[in-house]
């Protein structure tokens, strides 16, 4: 028990790092998960574009257009008159669309001009923004038709608005039976957890294993007359105990934060996290075999885990990564962890346990074994060459 207790006590040396990464996970993981979460209730709804309108004309025609857009879209204040700032606001999603009605808008409309009547700023990358441009164009064309047919300005505006609003009231019934179309809070939290849990486990367990390799500690244990099997069993038990406590703490925190989201898939996420724990322990053993210097452990862990997090869909969703990067990511353990999370998110709860789920978990366990084996080989070679 003395080896077991000694290892647990040595964890105190890296308690600060554990607390820091834990805080990072709780704070930034929560923000990231809440920002990206979407449920079936909110996923499918009428698309409403946030439009910022600058009306430099202030005529009946321009006011008519603004009134129409207020009925169907979310009209906001542009907060600026600078085109550059509007472009930045659209780029950073403060609003989705910036419409600028120029001073000569009504004169040019009455003169029969149809080209470039309005200016707008939009990334043009989404369907709602494209459709809004088309909607505005259709509105202007309808107004022109009424004006050219002899209707007065007020009548043309009123009739066009009535017709366009009737068109907007068209409803579509969407039958959504697929879980692929939304992302739960747990998915976001557990995805971010891929980075923080690996960091905590690698740093803490590497430091602890490095402690056991300290000459003074090693000599004291050897002098105690403990059988090497007992010593190794105690070391393994202590390491697993530390891993399980940290993983359980993280899982409980996620569970408590997501209490309001009723999700029957929580257990599957937990199974996946414990598979990641094995990867973390394996990696930690390999790193501790390479070095016992805490600064180098920090450096190697940061380098490895951070780059894996970027490649494997933890910080950036896989859909934004090129196919070459995704292919390369298949050789990294964190990819399979996020693959299981995606599988759990996209599959109904009663169909998760299947061949694919077990395959991915097995791959994670194999990675853990590879890291452990690599650590053993490195240790043996170091002993052999007395490095």
């Amino acid at each position: 028990m003395s080896v077991f207790n000694a290892i647990l006590k040595s964890t105190k040396a890296c308690i600060v790092s554990i607390i820091v990464y834990f805080s990072v996970f709780v704070l930034f993981g929560n923000i990231s998960a809440k920002a990206t979460a979407s449920t079936k209730d909110t996923m499918f709804e009428d698309s409403v574009v946030t439009v910022a309108i600058t009306d430099n004309d202030n005529s009946a025609l321009s006011r008519g257009l603004v009134d129409y857009l207020k009925e169907t879209e979310n009209v906001v204040d542009p907060q600026t008159t600078s085109i550059k700032e509007m472009n930045d606001n659209v780029r950073f999603l403060i609003y989705d669309y910036a419409l600028i009605i120029p001073e000569d808008f009504s004169e040019r409309t009455r003169a029969g001009e149809t080209e470039d009547l309005l200016e707008y700023v939009a990334p043009g990358a989404t369907a709602p923004q494209f459709l809004l441009t088309e909607k505005i164009r259709t509105y202007m064309q309808d107004v022109m038709v009424y004006l050219n047919s002899g209707y007065s300005e007020d009548e043309a505006i009123a009739l066009t608005k009535e017709n366009m609003i009737k068109l907007s009231e068209t409803k579509a019934k969407v039958i959504d039976t697929s879980d692929e179309n939304h992302r739960s809070f747990y998915t976001g939290m557990f995805t971010f957890n891929g980075y923080t849990l690996l960091m905590i486990l690698c740093i803490s367990i590497s430091s602890v294993l490095g402690f056991t390799k300290d000459t003074d500690v090693k000599n004291r244990i050897n002098v105690s007359g403990m059988h090497f099997k007992t010593k190794n069993a105690a070391t393994i038990a202590a390491v697993f105990c530390i891993g399980i406590v940290i993983t359980a703490a993280v899982t409980i925190v996620v569970g408590l934060m997501g209490l309001s989201d009723n999700n029957e898939k929580f257990l599957f996420y937990c199974i996946n996290v414990f598979a990641l724990m094995l990867i973390g322990i394996g990696m930690a053993y390999m790193i501790s075999a390479i070095t016992t210097n805490e600064n180098i452990i920090n450096m190697v862990t940061n380098m490895f885990v951070l780059s894996m997090s970027f490649f494997c869909g933890v910080f950036i969703d896989l859909q934004f990564l090129s196919p070459a990067i995704v292919k390369f990511a298949h050789f990294l353990p964190l990819y399979w962890y996020t693959a299981v999370i995606r599988l759990i998110n996209d599959t109904p709860a009663d169909k998760i346990l299947g061949k694919t789920f077990y395959e991915y978990l097995l791959i994670e366990i194999l990675f853990a074994s590879i890291f452990f084996a690599a650590g053993l080989i490195i240790s043996k070679k170091k002993e052999q060459y007395a490095v």
């Binding site: 930034f28 907060q79 606001n89 950073f92």
Partner: protein, 149 residues
């Protein structure tokens, strides 16, 4: 100097890899990108030197840089894209003192609007930060007493 040089070389390798091997156009001319990466590397190294010279506790030496980089990265829009623009309206000074925001802003402006006044302003602020960090580090690291030979 050695650390800065290594950092610059590794950043240039990353940029070349992203631009030419992955084929992702960063939108900034290569020369400007190299200069910005060099300034960013210098800023990181000098900020690290400052923290190292001010902090004596070894444990804090791990936590403070970690928190500092995480917070700077968060407020530069790494984890939540809108935060930088929201800060620009509500508290623009933060974007002018956040090194990560300055670097990302310089790259964004250069790629979207070209070499404007704001781009040069951001670059100048970063250079001033480097100089400031190094001066303060020197004050902390200099000897108080010298042995008489």
């Amino acid at each position: 100097m050695a650390g800065t040089l290594l950092q610059i070389v590794s950043n240039i390798i990353v940029v070349i890899y992203i631009q030419y091997i992955l084929g992702i156009n960063l939108g900034v001319p290569m020369g400007t990108m190299i200069i910005l990466c060099s300034i960013g590397s210098g800023l990181g190294i000098s900020a690290g030197t400052l923290m190292g010279s001010m902090i004596r506790n070894e444990r804090l030496l791990v936590t403070v840089p970690l928190f500092f980089t995480m917070i700077c990265s968060f407020f530069s829009g790494l984890m939540w894209g809108q935060i930088k623009q929201l800060l620009q309206y509500n508290c623009p000074i933060i974007n002018k003192i956040n090194p990560a925001a300055l670097l990302t802003d310089a790259m964004y402006i250069r790629s979207t609007y070209g070499p404007t006044d704001e781009f040069y302003q951001d670059t100048l602020i970063m250079c001033l930060m480097i100089v400031g960090c190094l001066i303060v580090s020197t004050l902390f690291l200099r000897r108080r007493k010298y042995v008489s030979l």
